[in-house]
């Protein structure tokens, strides 16, 4: 039963990721990216990380993509002049990427001896992550907040027209 879920998620994710890359129109690639992100959220859920799935949906699909779409919409950027997909380079680079992919696969299958460890019920729940977050990783959290603040100020400073 869950094989079906996995494989559908797998298929959707790959197809939408490919379309992000191959679409000529930026609009369409943006939309396909949203689909990819949602499937990733789904996969998180399957991997018993419900909190993360939710955060993924809200943060990625919600915030980032909206921002992205907003910027895309802002520039009536005509794709025509710019639709070159550099097919000449496609060949070369796909070979390179294939090599990386093959490398990873080789290392995976050479020692595919993992087994899912038994895991308590509320593994990915908010309570557990929250507790871990604010006990062991308190400092990184604070730093992350500072980072976000800097990013906001930076973005404003850069984009504001003086």
């Amino acid at each position: 039963m869950e094989q079906i879920f996995f494989y559908t998620a797998f298929a959707i994710a790959v197809i939408s990721a490919a379309s992000v890359v191959l679409q000529n129109k930026v609009m369409y690639s943006a939309l396909s990216l949203i689909i990819t992100l949602l499937t990733v959220a789904w996969i998180y859920a399957m991997l018993s990380a419900p909190f993360l799935a939710i955060v993924q949906v809200i943060l990625y699909a919600g915030a980032i993509m909206v921002l992205l779409l907003f910027v895309v919409m802002m520039f009536r950027y005509d794709e025509t002049e710019h639709k070159r997909l550099r097919p000449d380079l496609l060949g070369v680079f796909s070979v390179l990427v294939a090599v990386i992919f093959a490398g990873v696969l080789v290392s995976l299958f050479s020692c595919s001896c993992f087994e899912n460890a038994p895991v308590p019920a509320d593994f990915g729940s908010i309570k557990s992550i929250g507790s871990v977050l604010y006990t062991q990783y308190l400092v990184p959290v604070e730093l992350a907040s500072v980072l976000l603040l800097v990013a906001v100020v930076g973005a404003v400073m850069l984009a504001v027209k003086r």
């Binding site: 380079l89 680079f93 390179l96 990427v97 090599v99 990386i100 490398g103 990873v104 290392s107």
Partner: protein, 680 residues
């Protein structure tokens, strides 16, 4: 009067006083007026002269065998076994020399007070002159080779300074440099000679070297040392290969020419060879070379003097010729005669130079004898003194030159062989000819100038008269035995050069014979040098015919004396015939264009100057230019810059990798990732 031993302790004062005079003139001269400068200048030399006369008198009453006083002033250089203390040596040779040097230079100082008073660098002139006398006296009194070398170089330096005294004149500066470099070239060989002596003997102290050189070095080594020392002498006394600087040195003020280029400096070479005579005696070959060089120099420079027109250049060439005589005398084993001739020549030549200085002074710097003439009644005093000097110079019997030249002729005849004697006799006649040519051209005949006569002051005339006296009387120091004289000069110099009787008497000593035998080869070589003057000889031969021809009685030496006197008179007669008698006037012109080729060889002083310029100077310049341009900049600098250039080049290649494209950087990152993965 300071008597006894202690007068000799003042020996170091003789050179020291002129030095103090020089220092005074140098530092305070400019501020002190001309009067004070001249007093200090002449005074210091006069004092030195007086002191040397006292020492001379004290020296005379020393028994002949211990007339050799050593005196060490202070330890100069001491490095390992190379010891060079400043020590002075007084023996008959140096005694005679210091008296002559200080005497003549005192007279010349007095003369130049008059000659130079209008010159603005009066103090500087006396500074150089006093410094010169200091170095000359050090040279003469030196006790070891290095102290002699100090005097040697110092004298060269002062001659440079004095020749280019009127530094505004380009020719003066050039002549000064030429003089210094040519003499310096001679000094180079002399330095090598000193080093060879040090390496062989282990010391450079005269006494220990000359005491018994035979036991330390063989004749071959002696030859090398002798030749090196002789090369130094050639440079300084302007013998054949290195004589070109003396005629140009006439750019100096006339008293300087009188002092340096007549009486003192040029004779330093003769003094040096005389001083090192024991080494020369060890190798007959070197004596021969000295003799031949002397002969050649005497002959060639006499021929050149025949045709020159500048009064001072004629006298310069005559000095070179007389020096040739002295070296010839040394070569044929008559050092006493050489020194005697040196002394007489000093007086006569100084007189001639000062006389010519007075003439030039009178005619406002007119050097060319062609536009002089008839000065007899205008400057009579100069005329009379000049004539006495000329008579002494050309060896007219009765005056100084005759006795000393005769001694040389005799020694050449005895030791040198007939041909050398013939050549030197011809030269003697030529001397008579060109000396009296000046007199007849300058003082007789019609007036060829129109400028107002500037009568020489008394300060200039007194030295002339004194020198004339010395030139006349000087001869009686060495009247040979044949004429009943005591030959005091040879006895006086006995301690230096072995007993004089051997040389002066008629029958040649055993050494003399050996020399004559070997001499044929050398004579042949000088043969073809003489053929170019065949022409002139033809002229003198027919005048000889109508000279007095009665056969002389008495020993061969009397005959020799007679022949030399006759030759002298013939030269004078010829000059009279050419330049005074009306019909003889055009003969010289006719002669010069008939033998055109010979004439311009002589006028250009046998092309020595041009040859030297082309061979040495130009090649040296080219070589250094080449070295600078090709080797230094091209090779070495280029190599250094090459290294720097290649580094820069390498850098630029690497920098071209930065394409600026984002994609390019990404690919580089991907390539990196691949490499890592492949590695795992």
């Amino acid at each position: 009067m300071v008597e006894g031993r202690q007068v000799f302790d003042l020996l170091w004062l003789v050179p020291a006083i002129p030095l103090f005079g020089a220092i005074f003139n140098c530092l305070l001269g400019a501020r002190a007026g001309n009067l004070i400068v001249s007093i200090v200048g002449c005074g210091s030399i006069g004092l030195a002269f007086a002191l040397s006369v006292c020492i001379f008198r004290a020296f005379l009453d020393l028994p002949p065998e211990d007339r050799m006083i050593e005196f060490c002033v202070f330890q100069w250089i001491a490095a390992g076994n190379f010891l060079a203390p400043i020590d002075l040596l007084l023996d008959p040779l140096s005694m005679a020399m210091i008296t002559m040097v200080s005497g003549v230079s005192f007279l010349i100082h007095v003369y130049s007070v008059g000659y130079m008073e209008k010159d603005k660098c009066f103090a500087r002139y006396f500074f150089y002159l006093n410094l010169f006398v200091f170095f000359m006296l050090t040279l003469v009194l030196a006790g070891n080779f290095l102290v002699l070398y100090i005097g040697w170089e110092g004298v060269g330096l002062c001659s440079y300074l004095l020749i280019s005294f009127w530094y505004e004149k380009r020719t003066a500066a050039a002549a000064g440099l030429k003089a210094f470099v040519v003499t310096r070239f001679g000094d180079f060989f002399f330095a090598l000679g000193i080093m060879l002596v040090f390496v062989q003997f282990g010391t450079i102290h005269f006494h220990s070297v000359f005491e018994d050189p035979a036991k330390v070095i063989d004749s071959r080594m002696a030859m090398w040392i002798a030749l090196l020392i002789f090369a130094g002498a050639v440079g300084k006394s302007a013998q054949i290969p290195l004589h070109t600087w003396l005629p140009d040195a006439m750019e100096a003020p006339t008293p300087v020419s009188a002092l340096i280029h007549a009486a003192t400096m040029v004779t330093a070479g003769v003094y040096l060879v005389a001083r090192c005579y024991p080494i020369f005696e060890l190798s007959p070959v070197s004596l021969q070379i000295v003799g031949i060089t002397g002969l050649l120099t005497a002959f060639i420079s006499a021929t050149v003097a025949l045709v020159h027109t500048d009064i001072k250049r004629i006298l310069a060439y005559s000095t070179v010729s007389q020096l040739g005589h002295m070296f010839l005398a040394l070569g044929v084993g008559a050092p006493a005669a050489a020194v005697f001739h040196l002394l007489t020549h000093a007086f006569a030549k100084a007189l001639l130079f000062l006389g010519s200085g007075a003439v030039i002074h009178a005619l406002h710097d007119e050097m060319d004898i062609r536009n002089m003439g008839g000065l007899r009644q205008y400057i009579p005093a100069t005329f009379y003194t000049f004539t006495i000097g000329a008579l002494a110079m050309s060896g007219i019997p009765g005056l100084a030159g005759f006795f000393s030249k005769d001694a040389i002729l005799h020694a050449t005849f005895v030791n040198g062989g007939f041909l050398m004697w013939a050549l030197i006799v011809i030269t003697a006649s030529m001397t008579g000819f060109y000396t009296f040519r000046i007199i007849f051209m300058a003082f007789f005949g019609e007036k060829r100038w129109d400028v107002h006569i500037h009568h020489p002051g008394t300060v200039m005339v007194i030295p002339l008269v004194l020198l004339a006296l010395l030139a006349a009387v000087g001869g009686y120091m060495g009247v040979p035995h044949v004429l009943g004289g005591g030959d005091r000069i040879s006895n006086f110099l006995a301690p230096n050069f072995g007993n004089p009787e051997v040389h002066a008497t008629a029958e040649p000593s055993n050494k003399g014979v050996a020399l004559a035998a070997e001499d044929e080869t050398a004579v042949v070589e000088s043969e073809e040098a003489a053929e170019s003057e065949k022409v002139l000889e033809g002229v003198t031969a027919e005048t000889l015919a109508e000279g007095e021809g009665h056969a002389p009685a008495g020993s061969p030496e009397m005959l020799l004396m007679l022949v030399s006197a006759v030759m002298a008179f013939s030269g004078v007669g010829l000059a009279y015939f050419f330049y005074v008698t009306p019909e003889g006037r055009e003969v010289p012109a006719m002669l010069s264009d008939k033998f055109g080729a010979v004439y311009n060889i002589l006028t250009n002083a046998w092309y020595f100057d041009k040859v030297y310029k082309a061979v040495f100077i130009d090649t040296y310049m080219l070589m250094s230019e080449f070295f600078w341009k090709a080797v230094d900049t091209a090779v070495i600098d280029h190599a250094v810059r090459g290294v720097a250039g290649s580094l820069l080049g390498g850098g630029s290649i690497i920098s071209s990798l930065q394409l600026g494209l984002v994609r390019w950087y990404a690919t580089v990152m991907v390539l990196g990732a691949i490499i890592i993965i492949l590695y795992i």
